[in-house]
């Protein structure tokens, strides 16, 4: 259950829209079902009042949409950002992907978002309504009139269960209280995979990646994937491929993508959240983050606007190539 309720966000956005201080609002809009909340641009306060949503299903990171949406507007765009979204916000600013002065960033504290898949696993398919309770959710399905009680902690998104920070690193205005950077266990799973033999690890990833249907949802949602022309769509790139007809997805696609976002990924977890095949894509990115931390010192992409990621920076103290394996062995 989120501490700041919908009305606070709604009134803030509506007031600014009505006063003409912003031209549009980038927020979360109601979908067909209670749980399928989607990013949406609102242009009037009436639209907002009708469809604006702020609840435990607002996992979507809105920062990426600023790249395309700000270009279409003359005026300012108000955007709501959860703590993890602000890291992506900074990273995009670092890469000059949108103009800061065209955005009014409103920071919203977040208590963690729910994972629809986990909810369905506990409450069953055919969810017709979801009521928030003090401890979680009361879920009704079309197959049973009696609601199922589900604990909020049991259905947290992976990225929220391993939340790295409740602190907003960028905003114009903060609604509610500021949080802290957290000590998370987000590298535990990476360590488990590192401990495998190379055969086991290959089998693990083959098992995961072979399920890819190449829907491109991971790329499309990723705030680090904002290229004008993606290499996977570019016939001249040598890495173009559009349908999962070969072993490309299994062997190349996700690995190339992980390399492309290495040092830039803020670990917002959107890739795994949107994957319809439940591939734990965030683990590839976290392995890079963990390695960068080990080899070059702690670095959090997006924590600071304009920071130089170790992979595109150079200091005299940088590790020599031959030392990487030594350090890895330690």
């Amino acid at each position: 259950m989120q501490k700041v309720n919908r009305d606070v966000l709604l009134e803030k956005a509506a007031a600014m829209l009505d006063a003409g201080e912003v031209q549009a609002v980038l927020g979360w809009g109601a979908g067909e079902f209670a749980y399928d909340v989607t990013p949406r641009v609102f242009e009037t306060s009436d639209e907002l009042r009708a469809d604006f949503v702020w609840n435990d299903f607002c996992g979507a990171n809105l920062s990426k949409y600023l790249v395309s949406k700000t270009k279409k507007l003359e005026g300012k765009l108000l955007v709501f950002l959860k703590p993890c979204d602000t890291y992506s916000f900074n990273q995009l600013l670092t890469e000059h992907r949108f103009e800061r002065e065209k955005v009014y960033a409103v920071a919203v504290p977040c208590e963690g978002m729910a994972d629809v898949q986990k909810l369905k696993a506990l409450a069953g398919d055919g969810i017709s309504s979801i009521e928030s309770t003090d401890s979680g959710f009361s879920v009704t399905t079309i197959y049973d009139d009696a609601p199922v009680e589900v604990k909020g902690a049991d259905v947290l998104l992976e990225k929220c269960a391993n939340c790295k920070s409740r602190k907003h690193v960028a905003y114009d205005e903060l609604l509610g209280d500021e949080g802290e950077v957290l000590d998370s266990n987000r590298f535990d799973e990476v360590e488990r995979i590192e401990a495998m033999t190379s055969e086991e690890r290959f089998a693990f990833w083959q098992g995961e990646l072979s399920r890819c249907i190449r829907c491109n949802a991971c790329r499309d949602v990723c705030p680090a994937c904002t290229c004008e022309k993606c290499v996977f769509d570019n016939p001249n790139s040598g890495a173009e491929n559009k349908a999962p007809t070969t072993s490309f997805e299994e062997q190349m696609f996700h690995v190339i993508r992980a390399f492309h976002v290495a040092g830039r990924c803020t670990d917002c977890g959107e890739c795994s959240r949107v994957c319809p095949q439940n591939i734990p894509l965030h683990l590839l990115n976290r392995k890079f983050i963990k390695d960068i931390n080990t080899f070059y010192g702690e670095y959090q992409a997006g924590a600071e606007e304009g920071s130089r990621a170790p992979l595109v920076d150079y200091t005299l103290e940088d590790l020599e190539a031959e030392d990487v394996f030594k350090k890895e062995a330690e």
Binding site: K71, T94, E95, H96, R97, T226, C227, E228, K229, C230, V231, N234, N236, S237, G238, H260, V261, R308, V312, D313, Y314, L316
Partner: protein, 664 residues
């Protein structure tokens, strides 16, 4: 479609001995684009080049693949051949079937197979080659010499003699380096100071030479002909241009117990000091770690006694920016640390000294005014043991010493032993050695004199242990020729300690993007044919930073480096490398990643309007490469995630085509 000619070279038997050149040319003739193929004994010979020129004309070739030696060897040759035939020189690709193939394969079958694969890769690349034209860049007619020892001094004098301005950057308060600390020089035994200090004065008086003493190179940007260097002039708290070097301040300074680094800590200096009498520039320097005035504001004696008013306690580090066309590295050497060599008791006894300390002990300007006295009790030593190869040639103990031969120790030890016997005939002198190496003009004669005329006892064998006992040093050693153990009660033990490159060399190499070997000696562009050039264009090597050297060798290399620098500086313009990066603006995100990784600062950004599909215009931030600054290193092309940045002549598509050809 290209019309490609394939020319397979035998290189005498160098290639043909392990690679079936006929089979290679036959196998490559069916590759896409190939319209002509042949093989010949020496493709680089005039006759071989004529074959290429004739084939280009006869078959209207648009691309050339030469399967021969490394492109480092003959790429330039074959590019000139192509130009002579009327082709763009960048339509030539080399398949290295010698270094990467015949020399590393033992049998004909595998050598031939690999040569064919390498040839296919080169053909695949040349199919995608496009003609390139190099740009030009101007040359800044000024040279920078890093290090003011004899190497740096000689290089600077020679460059200045040709009329070009030179700056010397020296970290110490004076130039002169190690040679200034030496007593006599082998094999002629002239006094080091007598031959060095006139050169130091020449440097000081030469209006083409500026000396930045007590200074360090802080940052190096740019490239050959256009280096942009920041020099940090450390605060010496004395106004260099006013100080007359009279020494009144030194005499009156109350801080008297500061170890004197010029005499290797064997006596003391003051907090304000001039390293030695003939220092250049002859200017006092305040040691901020020792000066009371700088530490707690109490004293100020030197400023009171300075009649010139040169003392300035508020002086700050100064940063100087200058452009140079060429950079000479002359960072020199140091003896290695003796901390790991407990067997010689260097850290236990004052009477176990290094050879450089011995030089100071016999030097008239040294701590004992040239009288050979033991450091512990200032008594005259009667038995002296010299130990050679301390930390040199020590393959088995690489973690404490060096694998290489330090080269100068045999000769200076012979010199030390001879001088001792000459001045103090009552002294017994032993020299323990593994081998005595004396290749050099008049070197062996010199060593023979030490043995035959001066009666120095040379013993083949190593010293196992030195134990201080009372006022003696018990030396246990083996005599390999007599096959027995020796126990010598010595008064003084002198260690011929291995030398290593100065510690400043490694970070400097990184700044220069110059390569080093595993021992931190700078690597030459070619070990035999280009020994004074670094593989990085515009960076030259002088003296012991490239490898252990004695003074005659250092001076000749220093002059050689100077002549290379002069050859560069007389040019008004340099032809650039056309293989540079360029951004595809339609794909560029403007993210600045390429600019962040560019070591040359060649990338800037502009806002540019682009027509969109809906007939509107959109302004986007896109990268622009300055072709005069880009060196074609390719760092940006791998950092660019959209693939907008590409390298001409080494486009990603060309590299992928090569890989595909290899994997096919």
């Amino acid at each position: 479609m290209q019309r490609i000619g394939v020319f397979v070279c035998w290189c005498g038997s160098n290639i043909a001995g392990t690679v079936d050149v006929q089979a290679v040319s036959e196998a490559l003739k069916t590759e896409p684009g190939v319209v002509f193929f042949t093989n010949y004994q020496y493709m680089c010979s005039q006759a071989g080049q004529d074959i290429i020129i004739d084939a280009v004309k006869e078959h209207n070739l648009t691309g050339i693949v030469v399967c021969s030696c490394s492109p480092r060897m003959h790429e330039a040759t074959f590019r000139k051949t192509a130009a002579a035939a009327g082709l763009n020189p960048y339509m030539v690709e080399i398949a290295n079937i010698r270094e990467q193939c015949s020399w590393v394969h033992k049998d004909m079958a595998s050598g031939t197979e690999k040569a064919i694969i390498l040839g296919k890769a080169a053909i695949a690349k040349v199919n995608l080659n496009a003609p390139l034209t190099p740009g030009e860049s101007p040359v800044t007619k000024r040279a920078l010499v890093i290090g003011g020892g004899i190497a740096g001094i000689q290089t600077a004098l020679d460059i200045a003699d040709a009329g070009f301005p030179v700056d010397i950057v020296e970290t110490k308060p004076t130039i002169g380096g190690k040679m200034a600390q030496l007593d006599k020089t082998f094999p002629t035994l002239d006094c080091a100071a007598c031959i060095l200090t006139p050169k130091m004065v020449d440097v000081a008086q030469n209006d083409k030479i500026r000396i930045f003493s007590y200074s360090e190179v802080q940052e190096i940007k740019g490239f050959v002909g256009n280096f942009d260097v920041t020099i940090k002039k450390k605060a010496r708290f004395v106004k260099e241009e006013i100080c007359t070097g009279c020494g009144a301040c030194v005499e009156k300074c109350p801080m008297k117990k500061i170890p004197n680094e010029f005499n290797l800590g064997m006596d003391n200096r003051r907090a304000i000091y001039i390293p030695f009498a003939q220092a250049v520039p002859k200017v006092a320097t305040i040691d901020p770690s020792a000066c009371n005035m700088l530490k707690n504001g109490k004293c100020g004696v030197c400023s009171k006694v300075c009649t010139a008013g040169a003392i300035d306690y508020t002086q700050k580090d100064e940063f100087i920016n200058e452009k140079y066309g060429a950079i000479v590295v002359a960072t020199g050497f140091n003896p290695i640390s003796m901390d790991k060599f407990d067997e010689y008791a260097y850290n236990q006894s004052k009477d176990v000294i290094t050879s450089l300390e011995f030089e100071r002990l016999t030097n008239a300007a040294g701590p004992t005014q040239g009288k050979l006295l033991r450091p512990s009790d200032l008594e005259h030593p009667h038995t002296i043991v010299f130990v050679q190869c301390v930390g040199s040639r020590c393959a088995a103990c690489a973690e404490k010493g060096k694998e290489y031969c330090s080269k100068i120790c045999c000769m200076y030890t012979a010199k030390h032993a001879m001088l001792v016997r000459d001045k103090y005939p009552d002294t017994e002198v032993y020299v323990f050695y593994i081998d005595v190496r004396t290749p050099g003009k008049n070197f062996d004669e010199f060593y023979r004199r030490a043995v035959e005329e001066y009666g120095v006892k040379y013993i083949k064998g190593m010293v196992g242990k030195v134990t201080p006992e009372g006022n003696k040093l018990k030396v246990r050693a083996s005599d390999l020729i007599a096959g027995k153990q020796l126990n010598i009660d010595a008064d003084l033990v002198v260690l011929a300690v291995a030398i290593e490159p100065d510690k400043s060399a490694r970070p400097l190499a990184t700044m220069l993007t110059a390569s080093m070997d595993t021992n931190d000696f700078f690597t030459e562009a070619h070990p035999k044919l280009r020994p004074v050039e670094s593989p990085t264009a515009g960076v030259f090597l002088s003296g012991a930073c490239q490898g252990p050297k004695d003074i005659p060798e250092t001076v000749s290399q220093a002059s050689a480096a100077a002549s290379k620098v002069i050859g560069l500086l007389v040019k008004d313009k340099l032809k650039g490398n056309p293989c540079i990066a360029s951004a595809n603006e339609l794909m560029c995100n403007g993210c600045s990643t390429c600019a962040n990784v560019c070591p040359y600062g060649a990338i800037t950004y502009i806002d540019k309007e682009f027509p969109m599909f809906d007939r509107t215009m959109q302004t986007r931030r896109v990268a622009q490469v300055n072709p005069a600054v880009c060196q074609g290193c390719g760092a940006c092309t791998v950092a660019c995630m959209s693939g907008a940045m590409d390298l001409r002549g080494f486009a990603s598509s060309q590299i992928i085509a090569e890989v595909d050809a290899i994997c096919r």
